[in-house]
Amino acid sequence: MNLERRDFLKVLSAGALTAGNVTSVFAGIRKTLSADAVGILYDGTICIGCKACEAACKQYNDMSPESSNIEKAQGVDGIWDASYDLSEKTLNKIKLYEHGDASTRNSEENGFAFVKRACMHCVDPDCVSACPVTALTKNSVTGIVEYDKDACIGCRYCMVACPYNVPKFEYAKAVPEIQKCEMCNHRQVEGDIPACCEFCPTGASLFGKVTDLLEEARKRVKLVAGSTYEYPMRSLDEGDVSPKTVAPYINYIYGEKEGGGTQYLLLSAIPFTKLGLPELSATSSASKSEAIQHGVYKGMVAPIALLGGLLYGAYQTTKNSEG
C-alpha cells in the first residue's frame, strides 16, 4: 500500500506546486490586438446626450423600445424608448452624470457629463474564456466579440465573468438568448460602420482601426482646454471634421489597458469611476483563471498520473473482496 500512497501524495504535491507557480504566470499581458482590429472611440466631452446612437442601434439591430414602470402605469409605454441601462433590448446606452446644480458641462463639481456604455470588445475577453461551448468568440481579424446562439447553452457564466456586466440574458423568454453589442458586424460586412457612429451628430462615437483610434485619443488628451480642435466625424477614414472647443480632458484613455485592453475606448473630462466604469487590473481575469487551469491540467499529466495511482490503489484494495 505504501507505494501508491506515496505516488498519490507526490501527484498531490505536484498539483500544489503548480498552483504555487501561478502567481508568476499572472504577470504580463498575453493577448495582443490584431493589426486590423476595429473599435470605437467614445469622447464624452463632445457628446450632447441626444441618444441618436441608441435609436440607430435599436433600428439596425431590430431591438424593441423599453419603457419604465411609471410609463407603463400611465399607459404611455411603447411611444418612445426609455431604457434605464444596458439590457437584453438595449445594447448601447447613453448615461448622465450629474452633480450639484448641474450647471457646467464636463465638470465634476456642479456639472454634468455623458458616458456611453456598450460591449468593450476586450482584447482578452473574460466572456470568451468563460464560455464552455465557444458560443462567444473573438474574431481573429476585426477583434469583435461575437455570439453564436446555436452553440450557447444559456449557463450565463459569461455574465459572471464580464467585468462590465455586458452580456444580457432574455429572462422573460422561454427560448432565451444572450444579447450583446457585436459592433454592427452585419453592417460592417457590407462596408458600413456601426450604426452608433454613423448616426452620431457630433463625432462623439468614432469608428476606426483601434491603433488609429488610440493615436487620436492620445492626441486629444494632450490638447489645451479652451483651444479649438477639428473633431473627426463618424469614421476616422472619412475625413469629415467638425471644429469644437476642447474640454479639460482627464489625461487617461479608459480601455487602453483595462483588463488587458479594450477595443472600445473612452475619453472624459470627469473621473471614469464617477461614470460607473470599474477600476480593473492591467491583465484580464481570464489570464489568471486560465493560468491556474492550464497549470494544473498541463498535457493532462497530473490527472492521468493521479488516475494511474488511483487505479492501482483501487485494484489492490478490491481484488480480494466482494465489494
Binding site: 500500500m1 501508491e4 500512497r5 498552483a19 501561478v22 502567481t23 441601462d85 474564456s129 468563460a130 464560455c131 464552455p132 461551448v133 465557444t134 446555436d150 452553440a151 450557447c152 447553452i153 444559456g154 449557463c155 450565463r156 457564466y157 455574465m159 459572471v160 465573468a161 467585468p163 456586466n165 452580456p167 440574458f169 432574455e170 429572462y171 422573460a172 423568454k173 422561454a174 432565451p176 438568448e177 460607473g276 470599474p278 480593473l280 487590473s281 484580464s284 481575469s285 481570464a286 489568471k288 483563471s289 491556474i292 487551469q293 492550464h294 494544473v296 491540467y297 493521479l306 488516475l307 488511483l310 487505479l311 490503489g313 483501487a314 484494495t317 478490491t318 473482496s321 466482494e322 465489494g323
Partner: protein, 379 residues
Amino acid sequence: MHEKQALGGKLLTKPFWFLLGLAMIAGLLLIKRFLFGIGAVTNLSDGYPWGIWIVYDVLIGTALGCGGYSIALLVYIFNKGEYHPLVRTALMTSAFGYTLAGVSIFIDIGRYWQMYNVFLPWHINLNSIMFEVAACIGAYVFVLWIEFSPTFLEHRKSLETKKKLNKILFVFIALGVLLPTMHQSSLGSLMIIAGEKLSPIWQTGWLPLLFLMSAITMGYAVVIFESLFSAVALKRPLDETPILGKLSVMMIPLLVLFLGLRFGDLIWRGQLGNIFNDGMLGAFFVVENILFLIPIIMLASAKNRTQPTTLFWSAGSMILAGALYRFDTFLVAFNPGAGYHYFPSASEIMITVGIISIEIMAYLIFVKKLPVLPAIKHS
C-alpha cells in the same frame, strides 16, 4: 463482508405525503419556468445571473454529495477497510446529490435543449472552467450510479452480474475519486474569472484548493451527520458511533490546513484588515470561520468523539461552514456593482425545496426497499 438489509416498513407515511406535496408545488412552478422563462419564477438579473439554484443545488448540493468521494478515498485508496460499512450509504447520498445537481443545472440553464454541446468536441472550450466542471460532473453522475449498482444487483439477486461488475469496479472507484478531485476544485476556480466583482476577502488564486479541501471535509461531515440523523429518525440503534468517531478525526487536519491556507493567504495579500472595513461582509467572514472552527474544538478530545451528540453538532457545524463559504463566495461577496441586488424569490426557493424533498423521498424509498443500511445485530 458487512451484511446490508432493506429496512422495509410502510413507505407512504405522513412525512412522505408532505414531501410529495412540496415536490408537486415545485413541479407546477417548473411548468411556469419552462413556459414563460427563468425570469417568471426567479429574481435573477443581469448583475446576478446565478442564484440559489446554482449556489445551493449545484455547489452546496455536490459538496454535500462528497460523502461517497471522501469515504472511497479512505477505504479504497488509503486502504482503511474499517470504514467499509459506510461506503454504501455514502455512495447513495452522493448519487442523489449529484443527480439532482444535474437536474438543477438543466432547470437553470437557458438553452437546455443544447446542453449536449458541452460534450461535442467541436464546441468545447478547453479554456473554460465551466466546461471542466460540466464535463466532470456529467461523467461523475454516471460513475456514481455504476458504483452504487451492486446494491440493485443484490436486490434483484443477479449475483452473476454483480460478480462480473466487481472485477471491473476498481476502474469506476478510481474515476470516482479522480473526477470529484477535479471538479470540486474547479468549482472554486469558477469565480477567479469574476475578478474584481468578488470581494478580495474571497477572491484568491487558492480558491480551487480551498474548495477541494472543504468539499472533502464536508464529505466526512455529511456521512457522520446523515448516519446519526437517520439512526434517530428511523429509530435504529446508534451502532456506528465508534466508527463515526474515528472518521471525525479526519476532519481535524483538513480543517486546520484549510484555515491555515485561508488566513495565510489573506495575510500574504494584505487583505486581513479588510474584514473590519466592510461591516456586512466582515460579519459573514467571521461567522463562516467560527463554523469552521467549531468542529476542530469539539472534536479535539478523544472522549468527545465517542459522544453521538458532539459528533452530530460538530458535523452539522462543518456542513454549515462549507455551505456558507460557498454562499459567500458566489453570492454574498459577489458584487457586480451598478446597483444590482439579489434575494431569491418565493418560487425560486420553493423549487429548491422541492428538489430537496425529492432527495429525501428517494432516500426513504431506497433505504426501505434496497439493501443499503447495515443489518441490525440482535444480541
